[in-house]
C-alpha cells in the first residue's frame, strides 16, 4: 500500500512539473518569440461596417452629381448642380463628350471622396481597441479601390499589430449596383453624343429594375436620372446635344438646311 502511495505522489509531482514546463514554454513563446498571425479580415477592428457605410453613403451622394465631388460645368436642376456629360452651345450640332469614361471617373472620385472617411474608420477602430486595453501599433493606411459588377472593393493597406496579431491589408466589399447604373449611363452618353436622343422607355425595357427618366429643359438641356429600384441609388447627369431652337433662329435655320 505504501509503495502505491509513493508512486501516486511521484506521478502527481511529475504531472505538475510537466504542466509548469508546458505553461512556461507557452508563456515564453508568446512574450519572447512573439508569433505573427496575419489576417486580412477587418472584422477584428470592427472596421467592415464603418467602411461599408462610408462607401454606401458616398456612392449615394456622388451619384446625385454624376460622380463628381465638384460638378463644375453643370446645369442647376432643382437646386442641384448636375454636370454636363455631353455639351454644345450651338443649335443642330452634336454635343461633345465631356466625360468619356463615367465608370473610371466615378471610381476616381469615389476613391478621393471616401479616403478621409475610410481613414477615419481605421483610426476610430484603433482608438476603440486601445481604450479596451489592447496594445495596438497602427500603420499608415494606403487605400485602393476596385469597382466590380456588383460590389466595390476597398483595400486598406495598413500594417497593424494588435497585441500579438499582425494585419497587413484589410479588404472590404460593399455591395452596390452602381456599376450597372454606369453601364446605362454609357449607353445614354453614346446615344446622346451621336444622335441627341435616347429612348428611355426602351432602355427600361432592356435594363429591368431601373427607373430611367429624362427631364427636358427649355434650353435643350436634358437631365437624365437613373434610379436603381432595389438599392435606391439615383444617378443624375445632363446632356445638351442636337438642340433645336424654339421657333425660328436665322443662323440655326441655315445650319439645319445645310445639313439636309
Amino acid at each position: 500500500m505504501k509503495e502505491r502511495g509513493i508512486n501516486k505522489k511521484g506521478q502527481l509531482t511529475l504531472f505538475i512539473i510537466l504542466g509548469i514546463i508546458i505553461f512556461a514554454g507557452i508563456f515564453a513563446f508568446i512574450f519572447w518569440v512573439q508569433p505573427t498571425f496575419i489576417s486580412n479580415s477587418a472584422s477584428k477592428l470592427n472596421f467592415d461596417g464603418c467602411v461599408e457605410k462610408v462607401m454606401t453613403d458616398s456612392i449615394t451622394e456622388l451619384a446625385l452629381t454624376g460622380g463628381y465631388i465638384n460638378p463644375g460645368f453643370s446645369y442647376i436642376y432643382r437646386g442641384q448642380e448636375i454636370p454636363y456629360f455631353i455639351y454644345t452651345s450651338e443649335y443642330y450640332k452634336p454635343g461633345l463628350n465631356q466625360n468619356p469614361f463615367p465608370i473610371k471617373k466615378f471610381e476616381e472620385e469615389l476613391s478621393t471622396y471616401t479616403e478621409l472617411g475610410i481613414e477615419g474608420c481605421y483610426s476610430n477602430s484603433i482608438s476603440k481597441l486601445r481604450s479596451l486595453g489592447f496594445d495596438v501599433v497602427e500603420g499608415n493606411p494606403k487605400i485602393e479601390m476596385i469597382m466590380f459588377p456588383e460590389s466595390v472593393r476597398v483595400m486598406v493597406n495598413a500594417p497593424t499589430t494588435i497585441s500579438t496579431e499582425q494585419y497587413q491589408e484589410f479588404v472590404i466589399d460593399t455591395p452596390t449596383n452602381i456599376n450597372g447604373i454606369l453601364e446605362i449611363v454609357n449607353k445614354i452618353v453614346y446615344e446622346e453624343a451621336l444622335y441627341g436622343t435616347t429612348d428611355t422607355f426602351e432602355l427600361m425595357t432592356t435594363n429591368r429594375g431601373y427607373l430611367i427618366q429624362n427631364f427636358k429643359q427649355n434650353d435643350g438641356t436634358k437631365i437624365f436620372t437613373i434610379e436603381d429600384k432595389n438599392y435606391g441609388t439615383k444617378y443624375q447627369f445632363a446632356t445638351r446635344s442636337y438642340v433645336r431652337p424654339a421657333g425660328f433662329d436665322s443662323d440655326a435655320l441655315l445650319v439645319a438646311l445645310d445639313s439636309e
Binding site: 463644375g72 452651345s89 468619356p100 466590380f148 459588377p149 453614346y190 428611355t200 421657333g247 436665322s250 438646311l257
Partner: protein, 631 residues
Amino acid sequence: MANAFKIYSLILLLGILLIPAIIASDSNPTYCCEKLKGTGDNVGSCISAPISQCNDSLRKVQSSCENTNYCQVGTCFDSSSGLCGANTAKSTCLASGGEFIAQKIEQAPQCQLGCCVLLENAKITTLTQCKSLGTFSGINAQYDPSITSSSECIAKSQTKDMGACVTQTDTGRQCILTSRGECGGSEGSIVSGLYQEGDIKTFYSGYLCSAGALATTCAKQAKTECAGQDDEDVYWFDSCGNKENIYTGLDNSETIDKISDNNGLIANIDDLKKKTSDVKGNCDYLGSDGSFGTVCAQKTKEDGTDDEESTKVTNFCRNTSCTYDGEPKRNTESWCETDPNNKNPILKINSENKFVNDSSSKDPNTSAESFGLEPVGAEYIRKQCLDGEIITDSCMSYRKEVCIEGTKLVSDDEYQPIAGCVANRWESCLIQTNKDDCNDYVNRDCVWLSSESDEIEILADTNSRLLITEEGIEISKQTEKERDGKQKGVCVPRSSPGFDGTSSDELCHMASVSCEVTYERGFYAGAKNWYCDKVGFFCGDEAHYNKDGEVDETLTGDEGFKIIKNKECTEQKWAVAANKICVRQGDCGSYNNIEGEHYKENGYSIKASIEPGFEIVGLQKELNKWIDEKE
C-alpha cells in the same frame, strides 16, 4: 384699256407674337475655348463661347471648334477597361487618360462590338472590355465578334455546354452546375442509371446536380427563385443552391415537379412545353398570346395564395399590365398624349415606318389638312406601362419634339404599340416647292396642302405668295401657278412649332401671304379725280388719292376703280385661307391657345402697300367661326 391704271397692293397677313427677335450680333463673337474658366477638372471642354468665358491660359480661337486641332473630334479609348467614348475632343480625351482615335466610334477598330459570354451571362462589349470582365470575375470569357445583336448573344450564352460538376470529398459528392470549361474535371459517365467512379472532379454534361444518378449531396427542388434572363421566370433550385429547370407546376399532393425534373436532365423551356402546355414558371415579360405581361416575383399576402400549390413554391408570375382610362395596357406598351384642347391628330407611322397620313387621305384624322394646327402652348407627352405602373415622359417643350405612335415586333407575328418623342423637323417645309420633296419624311416633317382644299385653291388662284426673305433664305412664290402648275400647294409643318417668345416675329413673317390686286380706272376714263370708292378695298371711305397714289383730301368724285384681278383677295375667304397657312407656321395668326382662348386681332395684321391701309370688315368673326370649328 389705254387708260387702264394698275395699282399694286401688297397685302400682308402678319402673325405677331410680341417679343422681338434676338439677332445675333458680331459685337460679341464666339471663340472655341479649349476649356472654360473654372476650377476642377470638369469645367467644360471645347465649347463655343465669348472670349470672356474662355480659360485665359489655354487655347482659344475665334472659330468653330470643328476647325481647330486641339478640339479635333474623334473617339476616346480606355485601354484598361476597353470602353470607348464617342464624340470626344482630343484634349478632353487625353485629359481623361484615354487614347485618342481620330475616327468615329463606329469606325474605330478598338471599339468594334461583339458578344462576350461569361458562363450564363452574355453582353455586347468590345474585345478589351470582355477580357477585362473575365479577369474581374475570374471566369474565362469567350468573345465572338461576329455576333453584335444582344438577343443573339444571349441565346449563345444559353447554348453553352452546361452540366453537373461533381467533386468527391470526405463529406460526400459535392456539386455545382456550371459549364464544361469552368468545371475542368474529367468526363463522367452514367451506366445503368448510376454514375461510374472516376476522378475526384468529374463533369456530367446535361445533368442537373440533383439528378439521382449522380448521388450528390444536393436534394432536388428545395425551393423556387426568380432566374433566367433578367430573372424573368420561376426556377427550381436544389438544396445546394444550384439552378434547376423552370417550374412547371406542383400541387400539395405531389412532392416533385416531375415534368421540370426531367429525369435529372437539363431542359430548356421549349422542351418542357412539349410535355405540358402550361409551364407555370414561364413568365412573359412583354406579353403575348393574349397575356399582357408577367414577371417572376416573390409571393406576398397581398398577391393571395394558391391553396392548391405546394408551399415550396414561393414565387409566381406577377401581372405587369396596367389599366389606363379603362383600357388594358400591355407591359412596356407606350402611347402619346397631348393637351385636351389640342385636336391635332397624333402622328402615326405604320410597320414600314411610313406616316399614315398623306395628302390624298380623305380621313379627317389622317388627311394633310388635319395637321399643323396645334394651339399655342400645346405640348406632347408619352406614357408607358412598365411593371404595372404608368410612367410619363415629356417631349421637348415648344413642340421641338412631337410624339409619334408606331408598333414594334414583340414576337414572330405580334406587334405592340409604342410611342416616341422625335424631333420636329419643320424648318425646311416652307422652301419645298413640290409634293414629293415636302412629304420626304426621311428629311423633314411636313405636309403638302394641295389645291384640292379650298384654302389652297383660293391662294393658288390668286397667285398669292409666301414671301419673306430672311438671312439669305428666299421663300417666295410658293403657290404660284407658273412655278409648279401641276402641284399647286403649300408645304407646311406637320406639327406647327411653338415659340418661346424670342423669335416669333421672324417666323410669323415667313408665313405672311401677299396678293397683288389689280384695279382699273372706271368708265369715266377722263375723270380728273382719283379716289377709292366705298366698296373699294384698300382705301378708306373718305380717303382720296391722286394719280401718283398720294392722298389729296381736296379730290372728290363719283368715279371709282374696278378690280379686274384678284378681287377674292379683298374678301374674308382669302384672309381666312391665308390665316390657315399662317397658324401652321407656329404660334402665329389668329388661333386659340391650350386654355381655349382665342388669339384675335393681335395675332395678325393686314397691310396694304399704300397708305392708309384697309380692313376686311367682319374678318375676325369669320376667323372665330373657323377656330370654333377646330375646337
